[in-house]
């Protein structure tokens, strides 16, 4: 392969890797948004917690890496359930200003709690994978990167199937599209709230735990993650799962290619510009379907 194409392929691979993570995080955010009508500014903190808890389990408690990942997700979900029960439950009929401020408060709370617990330094989760890179025609990756990509992609598919095919997934979508008629067929909205919140938190935590192997997590990671997830959700259409998946991949690729072929300082601006363009020309987002 010619050097230009190799480099392009490398950028694309990088983009897919990051894009899968964006998609996974945004799926959870869009779900919480759709079902609960809450723009959850604390969503990125679940990613951060997923990463830190996994780090704690592997590095400090010496747990097996593959056992630690699901356990970390379970622990974050348990926390999410507590938060849902103590805080989010009260936000059901609350005005938007209240819900937003409460989630902003929660994001500050979780970030500083993590700072107190684990300190400010970024941590990578030690993984059992060999660090030697693999080369395919000059395009480099590592077993860890492939693992991350496979797990995030699999979780996206699993999440998608859960939402599309299962009874609970259908009930969530129905609640999202019309809460009242969902209640009228006997769907318990409070439970759907709890499920949606736990599910959204689980996806974000899983992304954090898996990616934490090569992108170090730090307490402040959550902020930028939340912002990126919001960008994806607006691009894809607020509340659209397909939009979150496609939007996440698109953003990952756009950033990788954008950074690859223009000054890297502007990498983060690509998504922001896209949001403003979408808002001007297609305010409902690229995908409407829920």
């Amino acid at each position: 392969m010619s050097a230009t194409i190799t480099i392009l392929a490398q950028h694309l691979l990088n983009g897919v890797l990051i894009g899968c993570a964006y998609a996974l995080i945004a799926m959870g955010l869009t779900m919480i948004f759709g079902v609960m009508n809450i723009a959850n500014f604390a969503h990125g903190e679940f990613y951060m917690l997923g990463g830190f808890v996994a780090f704690y389990l592997v590095s400090l408690m010496g747990l097996d890496y593959f056992a630690a990942l699901p356990l970390a997700v379970a622990i974050v979900v348990a926390l999410a359930i507590v938060l849902q029960h103590s805080i989010f439950r009260r936000l059901r009929e609350a005005p938007m200003m209240t819900t937003t401020l409460v989630t902003i408060g929660l994001s500050i709370l979780l970030e500083n709690a993590a700072l107190l617990l684990w300190g400010p330094q970024p941590q990578s989760i030690p993984t059992p994978f060999p660090t030697k890179p693999l080369s395919f025609f000059g395009v480099y990756t590592t077993p860890l990167y492939l693992f991350c990509m496979a797990v995030t992609a699999a979780l996206i598919v699993v999440g998608h199937v859960l939402i599309r095919r299962t009874r609970m997934g259908k009930a969530m979508r129905a609640t999202f599209q019309n809460k009242e008629s969902a209640a009228l067929v006997g769907i318990r909205i409070d439970r759907i709230y709890a499920y949606a919140f736990a599910f959204g938190a689980a996806l974000a935590a899983a992304a954090g735990a898996v990616l934490g192997g090569f992108i170090p997590v730090e307490p402040a990671t959550g902020g930028i993650i939340t912002l990126k997830a919001f960008v994806v959700v607006i691009l894809g259409g607020m509340g659209s799962f397909v939009g979150a998946i496609v939007g996440g991949l698109l953003l990952g690729l756009a950033e990788a290619l954008g950074a690859g072929y223009m000054p890297t300082g502007w990498k983060d601006a690509i998504g922001f510009f896209a949001v403003i363009l979408v808002l001007l020309f297609r305010p409902e987002g690229l995908f409407k379907r829920v």
């Binding site: 480099i7 330094q121 990578s124 660090t131 890179p133 080369s135 480099y140 170090p216 990788a256």
Partner: protein
């Protein structure tokens, strides 16, 4: 009326707030990031000055008084650093300030130092323009990035056996000043520059930048990063199959970096103002104490802390008073022999005369492979 009562209550409580009384100690203020993006390195600095002040006090302090450190968190954030410095100068009546890690914070704190006429020494902020402002209260006891570049740039092509150099640095004053000042020196040594890339302070994932640098096909990559980013950066460079030598300003010879980066740290060159493997009695004593008390090898931030604290205390001793203005005058006449040799200040209060080092990590130990002296500018 309620509002009025509240306002008056606040005003009264402030008026009776205890004002600093005559001091039995000599107070030195420290503004360093203890939270935020570079907190790890900031805390090393803080722990070092604490340890050294204990030593100094055990030997009788200065001017017959004990030295008291008042340490505030600046979080590498200019506004917070300003508030911290204001508090130190105005409330705690410190006679001199050490600090601010990030150059932006130091630039902000400099304005406070000038306003209140209190001397400020930095041992870490290397952005060249800090000393170009002619702020009479500001001193820098560390080589600037251009000075380091001038000292080592010409020898890099030969030392690394490389011709094509790519830059990948933090997008701040430091990284930008590096990309502005190094190329000329490197070119004078026969090298050429093939890529100029930046990353942001919040980035922990550098795949795009690395791929871009790789596309330029360099023989060596010049980096600027502090510990936390340096670890992720060097790992990811190797993970994307880039095997050329790395050479960097920043954390590249510190214990914490070498430990966290593991195999990725092997063969990495550091352009440093201080490295713990320097062979001199004063350094060996320092390293021994550091290892005993803080359980690791001192990093360049610890070295910087050692320098600035001693320079400040030395100046206070020579001034013979705690009057900040006299201390400032004494600082100008500094002629200090420390960890990295002799340090003097030029007319712009920039340190010169000290030795700088090119280190190379081998089996987890940063060996000194080249040294150079900072010339009087």
């Amino acid at each position: 009326m309620r509002t009025l009562k509240l306002v008056l209550a606040v005003a009264v409580s402030l008026a009776v707030a205890p004002l600093a009384t005559a001091q039995e100690t000599v107070r030195i203020g420290v503004v360093q990031p203890m939270t935020g993006p570079v907190a790890y390195d900031g805390n090393i600095y803080v722990n070092t000055v604490k340890m050294l002040v204990d030593d100094l006090n055990a030997k009788g302090g200065v001017l017959g008084k004990k030295i008291e450190l008042v340490i505030e968190d600046g979080a590498c954030n200019p506004a917070q650093s300003v508030n911290a410095a204001e508090k130190l100068v105005v409330r705690d009546k410190v006679v001199g300030l050490l600090g601010a890690f990030c150059s932006t914070s130091t630039a902000a704190v400099m304005e406070v130092a000038k306003k209140h006429k209190v001397p400020l020494i930095t041992g870490i902020s290397t952005a060249a323009q800090l000393t170009e402002q002619g702020n009479p209260y500001f001193f820098r006891a560390v080589a600037t990035t251009p000075m380091l570049g001038n000292a080592f740039g010409p020898v890099l092509p030969k030392a690394l056996n490389a011709k094509r150099f790519a830059f990948l640095t933090l997008n701040d004053d430091w990284g930008r000043s590096m990309q502005a000042s190094y190329p000329k020196a490197i070119e004078s040594g026969g090298g050429q520059i093939v890529a100029n890339e930046f990353f942001q302070q919040s980035d922990l994932q550098f795949l795009s930048q690395i791929t871009k640098v790789k596309a330029a096909n360099p023989d060596a990559i010049v980096l600027a990063a502090n510990t936390q980013q340096a670890v992720a950066l060097s790992k990811q460079i190797r993970e994307l199959g880039v095997t050329v030598p790395l050479v960097g300003e920043g954390a590249w010879s510190s214990d914490s970096y070498i430990k966290l980066a593991g195999p990725a740290a092997e063969g990495v060159y550091g352009l440093v103002e201080y490295v713990y493997t320097i062979k001199s009695p004063i350094n060996e004593a320092f390293v021994k104490e550091f290892q005993a008390k803080l359980k690791e090898n001192p990093s360049k931030f610890a070295g910087a802390a050692h320098n600035v604290l001693h320079i400040m205390v030395d100046a206070i001793g020579r001034a013979g008073t705690t009057d900040p203005e006299k201390i400032r005058a004494a600082l100008e006449k500094t002629d200090y022999n420390g960890l990295v040799g002799n340090i003097k200040f030029d007319a712009k209060h920039q340190a010169y005369g000290q030795t700088v080092y090119l280190s190379l990590v081998k089996n987890g130990v940063p060996d000194v492979v080249e040294t150079a002296k900072i010339a009087k500018p």
